[in-house]
């Protein structure tokens, strides 16, 4: 086991992972989910207890909150669903299939009902009447919290959950993917890449960020040929890399690797940032992302899709 694998496995000793390295911290749904994703590809490392934790803390609506007892379900449902899907793919023996499938069915149901809907039923009827069926296919993504607006990151996480390791082939899933792909493409920054989702406001254009660009790219591997995807890859490849941040380097490595682009520069910079105890960055979430990025050198990247899809056609 490598130092970083050891560090992360130790964090899961109670079956869950906090965000912070400080002692006495509580469970984080997101950090636990990414720790599972980072470790699940290695069959010698068991993430059973972490999976049991996620399933046990799934809310009655099928989603997850940022931590047990912290309000209603929110955007962390995307990473949690992704963790379950990848665990089912890489280590199906860990949890009884029936239990896993039930949990996933509820999770999908939650994600598909969580999507942002701007127009009331009357407005949608009007749109249908004026523009025909094609007018109903407006861009729709996912919010950070229920009843709020679409943003790039929750949309990216939910898309990854629906597309990885393989595309969710249910009709509703495909429809959600189509509209969410459209949302991301329409919200790309001028010149390439993505920020949080506000590429322009009051006449001003805002720049992209490396982290959000990489996340969106990982969510759009099924439509790699799209010009905005290519522009985003160009941004990641040519962006100034200050090497300050393990998070941006880890995400960039994963995204470039998923598109078969060279990521050796990013990986090298990431490895220079490893802390003495094997961790990366300021918390377990970034450590998990970094482990995932390092694993690409062994040809392992669970965020690469397993097959081509035609989800952009409707």
């Amino acid at each position: 086991m490598t130092k970083v694998q050891e560090f992360l496995s130790a964090a899961l000793v109670d079956g869950w992972c906090p965000y912070s390295f400080s002692t006495g911290q509580s469970a984080s749904t997101e950090a636990t989910a990414w720790a599972i994703i980072a470790l699940v590809g290695n069959r010698r490392l068991s993430v059973r207890r972490a999976l049991e934790f996620l399933i046990a803390n799934q809310n009655t609506d099928g989603g997850w909150a940022t931590g047990p007892g912290l309000g209603r379900s929110d955007w962390t449902s995307g990473p949690a669903t992704l963790a379950l899907r990848l665990a089912l793919h890489y280590q199906p023996q860990l949890i009884a299939p029936r239990i896993m499938e039930q949990s996933l069915a509820r999770a999908f149901n939650y994600l598909l009902t969580l999507r942002v809907e701007f127009l009331p039923p009357v407005g949608r009827l009007l749109l249908l009447f004026l523009k025909g069926p094609a007018g109903m296919h407006y861009a729709r993504g996912w919010p950070w919290n229920p009843d709020c607006y679409n943003w790039v990151e929750p949309t990216s996480y939910c898309l990854m959950a629906l597309k990885l390791p393989t595309l969710n082939n249910e009709e509703l899933g495909l429809s959600a993917i189509f509209h969410a792909n459209k949302y991301l493409l329409e919200h790309a920054c001028r010149g390439g890449g993505w920020n949080h989702g506000c590429f322009a406001s009051l006449g001003a254009f805002y720049p992209p960020y490396m982290t959000t660009t990489a996340e969106a790219l990982l969510a759009l591997t099924d439509i790699a040929a799209e010009s905005r995807v290519q522009a985003a890859l160009n941004y990641l490849n040519t962006a100034e890399n200050p090497g300050f941040s393990a998070m941006s380097l880890a995400w960039s490595t994963l995204a470039l690797n998923a598109y078969d682009h060279d990521c050796s520069k990013q990986l090298e910079a990431l490895l220079r940032l490893q802390n003495n105890d094997g961790s990366f960055g300021l918390n377990y979430f970034v450590t998990a992302l970094s482990l995932l990025a390092i694993n690409t050198t062994n040809g392992i990247n669970p965020l690469r899709p397993k097959r081509e899809s035609a989800s952009h056609k409707h």
Partner: protein
């Protein structure tokens, strides 16, 4: 085209137009306003408002290279800040995102001065904490703002409030529709919270300073990046509720280089050469607004803060330093706070819910 086809098209157009007008008329009477208006505060919301006169220090500092701690220390007797003896103090700067071109964030020199100040005033534990609003990459922001370096040099821990352990905090008589907030434990366990904002214009609420700075306390792990939930419920409403739940002990405003124009992100630098210091965040913000050339009646949340948080009238605020009317300048306004009131309101209502802070 045959007569029959022509008739079909005419009938279809007529039906489309009729249905459109019917549905539109249905929409217009039932759609809620896009941005909830700030209501007049109720009596129970005014309980706890500071009533004693406030003191606001307007301290001149030509540049960030000046000894800012010494400048503040020299005025301590008049500023009536009190002390922080034995207390755990959290310093909350503005680190909303990487300052890629504009003076977006609190400068590290101001943070350094604040650390020295609270240490001088007897703080037992000092923590720097912030939950950046637009980016999850706190490590990057710490590096690019220089705040991480100050924390390291002064051996003060930094807590990312976006990822901190959280607790449910009930809100009584709220302005928002929330009966509770989920807030970071670091803030709730602190004996004193010090707001260290940047003086900036703000295209949704006019300006941002001591009170709006508390948005960075709401954890992104729950409310997202950006914290759209706060916009959706009404920015002004959340500013008021947050400042009623978290009573900041002190505010130190970085106005050496402020921001004007399309703030709080896309504005331009405005050299003011000032640091503002005060215990009452409403008084500090009202003074900032006057210095920026605003009439307080243009800033809803400040008007209401004058009834529920602290003092905003000049008669209730003692200024230590130059008179406001001697140093006030007309900051370039965001177009949402321009002279064309109708256009401003239209823009405000159209965008503020779906946009960043």
């Amino acid at each position: 085209m045959s007569e029959k086809e022509n008739d079909k098209i005419k009938r279809r157009s007529f039906l489309q137009a009729s249905l459109a007008s019917l549905t539109l008329s249905g929409c217009s009477t039932t759609q809620p306003p896009l941005v909830p208006k700030l209501p007049e505060p109720r009596e129970e919301q005014k309980i706890g408002r500071r009533t004693a006169p406030s003191v606001v220090g307007i301290l001149e500092a030509k540049s960030y290279a000046d000894d800012l701690f010494a400048i503040i220390k020299a005025k301590l007797p008049q500023l009536k800040i009190g002390d922080f003896k034995g207390k755990t103090v959290v310093l909350k700067p503005n680190m909303v995102e990487c300052p890629y071109k504009a003076p977006i964030t609190t400068r590290p020199e101001v943070l350094r001065a604040a650390i020295k100040l609270v240490d001088y005033l007897g703080a037992k534990n000092i923590i720097v904490a912030e939950g950046p609003g637009h980016m999850r990459d706190t490590e990057l922001i710490l590096a690019t703002t220089g705040i991480g370096k100050v924390c390291q040099e002064m051996a003060v821990p930094f807590v990312d409030l976006n990822l901190d352990d959280c607790v449910k905090v009930p809100i009584k008589h709220s302005f928002t529709t929330c009966d509770h907030f989920i807030l970071p434990k670091t803030i709730m366990k602190a004996d004193a919270v010090v707001s260290l904002p940047k003086m900036k214009t703000h295209h949704w609420v006019g300006m941002t300073a001591a009170m709006k700075n508390l948005f960075g306390i709401m954890p992104g792990r729950k409310y997202g990046y950006p914290k759209n939930f706060l916009h959706y419920g009404g920015i002004a409403h959340f500013i008021l509720d947050l400042n009623r739940v978290i009573a900041t002990r002190l505010s130190i405003v970085d106005a050496i280089i402020a921001m004007e124009g399309d703030g709080p992100i896309n504005g331009t630098a405005k050299e003011m050469g000032l640091i503002l210091v005060g215990i009452d965040p409403a008084a500090v913000d009202a003074t900032c607004a006057r210095i920026m050339g605003y009439d307080l009646s243009e800033l809803d949340y400040i008007c209401v803060a004058g009834q529920v948080i602290g003092n905003i009238q000049t008669s209730e605020i003692e200024i230590i330093g130059p008179a406001v009317n001697e140093i006030a300048v007309n900051f370039k306004r965001p177009i949402t706070y321009g002279k064309d009131k109708k256009l401003s309101e239209k823009l405000l209502h159209a965008q503020s819910r779906s946009d960043i802070s």
